[in-house]
Point group: C4
Chain length 335, copies 4
């Protein structure tokens, strides 16, 4: 059976191949690449950037000590009192010492058992460079982690679409309906809803467009697509003459091939970030002659409006013509 384009949870079932200069463009936009990859790779790069820089500077400090002669036996810390030797960095014995000193300096712990002395200008210079680079590495990495944590994509986890859509009449007009909801108490600001029908299209010229995206006008009373998601809302698409569903009847639904992708966009109230929640409906998920059950009620005991989400996906049957909206309009004209 043919798989859907957009999964129920909003994931897109699309893969890309043969993209020219892909690697180069991903690197040009390294930040978005870092935010997009999986957490395990982010954490790995995060850790590696610290450890590798610590190691790199540890090697540098070791070289400074070595070239200055601090690692010769009579110049080691225990013998400095006797020889009167002044090292570049205090209490350095070998690479382990310079590695520790590198961490202590770059991470600004600075225990002080190991410390920079005034003996070597190159030591002071490397200390400056390491301090600056340390701030930069930390800024970039913390920025990536912060951006990854605050991705507004996650807010879509708490936005709901009904499992199925329904077709019934509203004031004699056949309509396609589905439900959207918001689990959180905080809002989605400037929420808008869109729906697109992906279906084969053939033009008069014989052009075959296998996955054409027809726009379905959705809204409420006046086709307003702006939502105030105070409680779950029923989104309505009137099946008027300019709708791609105008010629579709109940029996057509059983054999037609299309996918209705629904998109909810808005700004997360808490963080002022834009988010997008997606879902889709196949013909098999559209219930002809059904209507959604109410789920908002007023509780006299608490004086509050209560939403019962266990009813979110529930529908009940209603008398609905099985013919297409076109046939229905033609029939009305005859009467």
């Amino acid at each position: 059976i043919r798989k859907r384009v957009v999964l129920k949870n909003g994931e897109c079932n699309v893969v890309q191949s043969n993209v020219a200069k892909r690697r180069r463009r991903y690197l040009a936009d390294i930040f978005t690449t870092m935010v997009d990859i999986q957490w395990r790779w982010t954490l790995l790069i995060f850790t590696a950037s610290f450890v590798l820089s610590w190691l790199a500077f540890a090697v540098l400090w070791w070289l400074i000590a070595f070239t200055h002669g601090d690692l010769e036996p009579e110049h080691l810390p225990d013998n400095q009192g006797a020889s009167g030797w002044k090292p570049c960095v205090g209490n350095i014995h070998g690479f382990a010492s310079t590695f520790l000193f590198s961490i202590e300096t770059q991470h600004t712990i600075g225990y002080g058992y190991r410390y920079t002395t005034e003996e070597c200008p190159e030591g002071i210079f490397v200390m400056c460079i390491q301090s600056i680079i340390g701030v930069m590495i930390q800024a970039f990495m913390v920025g990536v982690v912060f951006s990854k944590l605050t991705r507004p994509k996650m807010r879509a986890q708490t936005l709901l679409f009904s499992r199925s859509a329904a077709i019934c009449q509203r004031d004699d007009q056949l309509c396609l309906m589905f439900r959207v909801g918001d689990m959180r108490k905080s809002h989605i600001i400037d929420a808008s809803i869109r729906a697109q029908m992906i279906q084969m299209r053939v033009t008069n010229e014989g052009e075959m467009i296998p996955y054409f995206q027809y726009e379905l006008k959705v809204g409420f009373d006046h086709d307003e697509s702006n939502l105030f998601l105070i409680w779950p809302m029923t989104v309505v698409h009137k099946i008027t003459p300019d709708s791609p569903l105008y010629n579709v009847s109940a029996s057509d639904l059983l054999k037609d091939k299309f996918e209705i992708v629904v998109i909810l966009e808005g700004t997360v109230e808490s963080t002022s970030m834009t988010t997008q929640a997606r879902s889709s409906y196949l013909p098999s998920e559209i219930k002809w002659g059904h209507r959604f059950e109410p789920l908002v009620s007023f509780r006299k005991d608490t004086g509050q409006y209560a939403v019962d989400y266990s009813l979110f996906n529930n529908t009940y049957e209603v008398d609905t013509p099985l013919c297409s909206s076109r046939d229905l309009d033609e029939f009305k004209k005859l009467r």
Copy 2:
């Protein structure tokens, strides 16, 4: 008496129940959850994340010292000179020492009384891990506190709606009016106003929609809903044939049941964040035959325009027909 859906201060009087997988979805979006919860819980989690991680690493350091033998009597600091013992961490006596060392290392204070030595590779390894995890914990926690502090929801505290709405004529057209204002000197960019009327709706098919949201077209001269909130503005809804208030008369207002929710959305100029201010009007808060008092005047002494907010909610009576807008239009046709 029936409580309102949206309180005067914008809070929503709605509760949700029976939400499937609620806990799991809240955890998937941990960041928004953290930003949404009350300050006392945020501060508690903030504190706990630091203290618990300090404790965890303190236990680790204690284990390292214990397994290395640093805690045996002849290996303690005061006896290290005599025994020539080299510990993993200098000046560790027991758990209190490792706890202090853990804080000094992770928080990068690094007094240096306690310090890592070159004796134990596992000590250097744990020091690296603790440094990295410390940065991560601090980044996440500071990010949550920063986002919670910068929530644009707070800017709505300084946006005002008039306490009541008014109905009167403007150029022979019955209109519903209310006032919006901005207390701050800095602006709301790209401000837009919306109004929705929550009321029972019954369709031709007998569907009863208990809380249907009718859109009320609001604006000014040309139904422009964009605002430049330079001073308090009177928002106007013309009661034309496509308005749900078209059939409502002054007496109907006394017994009708509905709620007009008003929404002001825009971008905070100072922080570029999107905010939403809400309020609502019940029929009892709509004054038929009233008009808002002017509150902007020009001060010749200072050469500035002055807004007197003590007049913000004031209205005065004007001659207005008590019949519905429909009746008024029919009457006009007869003349």
Copy 3:
């Protein structure tokens, strides 16, 4: 002479008085308040928050030392060897020491001359509290400074409006024109332009609205108000029958009282923040029978398009009817 509402630089010449609960609401939104105030107050609060917290904890540490007996003569650092005294914090002599220790701990410098010992649980506890509070204070203050630095309001400094507006014909249609420009090479994304005419309005009912904001439809060929500010653009308002300028003639301009406020809104490409630039035109700044000079030319030598900003405000005279747009339309009908 009457002062303008919006100054040429976008400042608003409006003051507010008698605002109820002003102080309380400003505190509820402390963050926006902090970002809005002048830099000198921000820096003062920034400095004070650090110094006061250092002082507060210095007093706490002093109390801990005092109550533990660390400040008695035989318990001071120089006599600790002889008396075998173990202090709560090493090398504390008095308040100056505890103040230094407080800074070294909270700011995580941690020289180590003064350090926490294992003697006092209350010392370890205060060290934890000070560390956590130190991070919080720094996070809030750095966040305020960062937000204040990144305010997109400053981007409006490099957006330009022409000093005057012009009225002339374009394809026989009288139009009001003004110019907008962007000094920077980086763009304003999704730029849109709006214009409002502030003027006295009197309704049929006799309501006098002293500063009514009429919307002026602006744009280009098809009244598109979206801009791609690749170079300075001439914004056009067609004086059609639905324009408040329809009845205004050249002589009316000399005595009319109104102000045209122009608003450019968009997203700063570099930071993705929304910004708003404002300016205004008084009747005395509208030149009837003038047209803006071109300022974009193609340089053959460099192969680039050059914008000469010295011509930005320049206009030249053109033959233009001095009558109102209404009279012109009526005249056309007669012919």
Copy 4:
């Protein structure tokens, strides 16, 4: 040959000259200036701000030591035991020492070999000032680097426009088409597409506008300019009577001078930042009588939709009238 206004990669081929008060306005908006400049200058300023502040405070510390007498031979560290001298800062020998102490203090490394004593109030005061200024410098610099890294402009690197545009018929209507695509798996939210035709315009009054920006209405079925970029999309401009291309025939295309600038705007899903991708088409890049090849197919083996980007720019020839859309419409009327 005349160069294009917008390069294929979105760069704008425009330079500006004679801008009044340019330097002053760039400094007023220092933050955007810092984010806009090249990386090498940002890193230079970043480094310089740290090094110069370290040097400035090093001089201050040196002055404190000098005026206190800490640098006299009998007051130097090695002689302090004998003379009983108490310095302002421990272990200071000269400028190298104060420079190291300045770094250790401001960067909060605090090795502790050099430390502030209680001897000098001016030393404690300078330590406070340096700590506060250090936080400010780091906050500003990290903020600039973070903002520069997160610039959403880079996301446009992974947004694609087809190399050429095409003109052919769709349901008997001549259309201009081009293709847009998104290389990344993560989305652009609220994507919208715009097209502008830059061409010479001459009005009835004889005004010559050398680079007028005509708006080309683009979209899909119902001129919807909103995109759901799930896979590469073909953007369509119907050449109807209100299109500036209405009178253009295939032969006109060979000699006409214009440039069609296309703009894709939207919000990056990962970071919630607004981005804008640009490209353009010259008449030589418009293929009359061509149509884009399909590139989306369904893979039965994996159950996924596959996009083959190697076909992204491919077109094939189709029978298309060579006359203008106007001639075609007139011809249809005759039949």
